[in-house]
């Protein structure tokens, strides 16, 4: 009878993903964030179809024009359509933001978890290395990386990723240490789980919330850092459009042609805002204790 009931599939198992989604969809702000992100991603993918002009088409008869029907966000000093450049720029910014952050987060999480879980000497070696890395200004670090492998989007990616590693390692280490001594970790050890199993199955899911928060805030930072690198000529190379570098280029014209800074600025702000709203919502949705 026991078996029958078990077999009967009353084990109506809604997956973790479905559960999370259900709770997330009730959070209006998170959905707004998600909507903005979706628009951004679609824009990035279909940039060729959306942008009215190629991003590098220069029109010297129409330089520094204010927003009009022809040029929705005006044109820059070379007569390039800013709207098209913002649209194409979403590609670069999102690409750099996500890739560098994923890389940095992955490495940071692994090292942070190892440091926090094992403690002692291992912890000291990893965290002191992170401190050293943290002590070097990110721009200097980026210049060093760029001068070794040459400037370009790859070196910007690596530089941004490397500079976000210590932040992640620190957050993950602290979170791991609070979870490490929980009884269920010991319980898993008493049932024959090895360290890797415990870290992946018990510790990691329990510290996901701070990682998500760090990641959503980190993407914004990564996009900004990448922009500063581009401004220094170490990141994205012209004529590739990138919001940060557009912002930097436009700063000389800020007083007379403020629309040149406003559009890429709003783009960055919206992206970071959307990521934050979505990240907060996700954190709440992933926490089963907040379940109604």
């Amino acid at each position: 009878m026991i078996k029958k009931q078990a077999e009967h599939g009353h084990i109506k198992k809604r997956s973790q993903f479905q559960e999370t989604w259900k709770r997330l969809s009730k959070n209006r702000l998170a959905m707004v964030g998600l909507a903005i992100l979706a628009v951004l991603v679609i824009t990035a993918i279909f940039a060729d179809l959306i942008a009215p002009y190629p991003y590098d088409e220069q029109d010297y008869n129409a330089t520094l024009q204010s927003p009009s029907l022809e040029h929705l966000m005006g044109t820059d000093e070379y007569g390039r359509d800013i709207f098209s450049r913002v649209v194409y720029g979403s590609r670069t910014s999102l690409y750099v933001g996500f890739i560098s952050l994923t890389g940095g987060a992955l490495i940071g999480c692994i090292f942070g978890a190892i440091a926090g879980f094992f403690g002692g000497k291992t912890d000291n070696i990893i965290m002191r290395t992170c401190d050293v890395l943290h002590g070097i200004p990110q721009i200097v670090l980026a210049i060093a990386i760029a001068s070794t492998i040459g400037p370009g989007i790859t070196s910007a990616l690596i530089a941004v990723a490397v500079s976000s590693v210590p932040n992640f390692a620190r957050v993950v280490r602290a979170a791991t240490m609070t979870v490490r001594d929980q009884e269920y970790v010991e319980a898993s050890a008493s049932l024959g789980g090895n360290n890797t199993h415990i870290i992946i199955h018990h510790i990691f899911p329990n510290i996901l919330a701070p990682i998500i928060v760090q990641a959503t805030l980190g993407i914004g930072k990564s996009i900004l850092l990448c922009a500063s690198l581009s401004f220094l000529g170490l990141g994205v190379q012209p004529p590739m459009p990138e919001w940060g570098s557009m912002l930097s280029n436009a700063r000389t014209f800020m007083r007379d042609y403020s629309y040149m800074v406003i559009s890429p600025g709003i783009a960055i702000m919206l992206t970071v805002l959307a990521l934050n709203l979505f990240g907060d919502g996700l954190r709440d949705a992933l926490d089963p204790k907040l379940k109604k």
Partner: protein, 322 residues
């Protein structure tokens, strides 16, 4: 025949914690044995070394600062202290597993109970996720929780239900030995009785041996065949339930019974044991119980008592019986 019946044999085990304040002598030269299917109660005050003994058997003494400094732990004739980490890991959960004191904290809050039961099964048996879930559902039914609740999280269960889940996890791979570390302390009395009843039932059904750690003599009387009383890291009295309860020898054990309210005897006041448990960093010379012992003699202060067999299977560590 004798050797095959013996499941667990502990010989002269000592576990110390090496801290900055000094060496904490948590467990000192204890020995006992446990037969297959037998239940033994390990009774003592807080800090008597009960949990450390359990961790020693599991091979989970936190190191540093803890270390097993001597003795042998024979499980089916094999010395666990000499086993490699990998061997120990394969034993844990499959051959012996542990039920923890507080079901509120010994379950992972963000995994469903079904996943947590299936986890043990998958660690030790090569089963697909689906089969493991099926088996987990059966085990859950066995401890009296409907299988539909598999996909719920620990916080959706009451304390008693959680402890049932913990028991289900411990029993999932039908281990030969279960170490229950104060399994009912965090529960209220009615649920306590239910959980104990369930444990006894399952133990009979599966033929599992159990080491029940508790400070509740009533619980022991209810469930165990054998009792060991621990004080300051030593077993001061050990024997069958009848030996220890009806023919109490050691002054400490007598003190424990004296501090229990009794239904049959009318007494105005309970008789507590004077004094406090000694500091394990600085144990008294001679018999560790002598500062609190009502029958303390001069020799108790200098000479440590040895294990004495007063009747077959009934051991006492007291100078009065040497």
């Amino acid at each position: 025949m004798e050797t095959t019946k013996k499941l667990l044999e502990i010989k002269d085990l000592s576990i110390h914690y090496f801290t900055e304040e000094g060496v904490v002598r948590a467990v000192n030269n204890i020995d006992f044995e446990l037969m297959r299917g037998e239940t033994m109660g390990l009774v003592g005050e807080t800090g008597a070394g009960k949990t450390t003994t359990a961790r020693g058997i599991m091979g989970l003494v936190p190191n540093p600062p803890g270390r097993v400094v001597g003795g042998e732990i024979l499980f089916e004739g094999k010395d666990l202290l000499k086993a490699s980490n990998l061997e120990m890991r394969l034993h844990r959960g499959k051959d012996f597993s542990m039920i923890f004191q507080d079901p509120m904290t010994s379950l992972n809050p963000i995994l469903t109970v079904g996943d947590q039961i299936a986890e043990v099964i998958r660690l030790h048996e090569k089963l697909s996720r689906k089969d493991a879930n099926l088996k987990a559902a059966q085990i859950l039914e066995m401890v009296g929780i409907p299988a539909e609740r598999m996909s719920e999280y620990p916080h959706q269960f009451s304390g008693g239900m959680k402890q049932r889940v913990v028991i289900a996890i411990a029993l999932a791979c039908s281990p030969k030995l279960i170490i229950a570390d104060e399994p009912t302390t965090a529960l209220d009395v009615t649920i306590q009785a239910q959980v104990l009843e369930l444990m006894r039932e399952l133990q009979e059904k599966l033929g599992t041996a159990m080491l029940l750690i508790t400070h509740d003599l009533g619980v022991v009387a209810d469930t165990c065949n054998k009792v060991a009383i621990m004080y300051a890291g030593q077993i001061v009295e050990m024997g069958s339930l009848e030996d220890v309860y009806d023919n109490t020898m050691h002054p400490y054990t007598k003190g424990l019974f004296g501090s229990l309210p009794s239904l049959s005897m009318k007494s105005k006041r309970l008789v507590p044991i004077d004094g406090l448990m000694p500091d394990p960093v600085d144990l008294p010379t001679g018999c560790p119980f002598h500062p609190r012992c009502p029958d303390c003699k001069e020799s108790c202060k200098s000479r440590a008592p040895v294990k004495t067999e007063v009747s077959p299977g009934h051991y006492v560590r007291c100078l009065r019986y040497e």
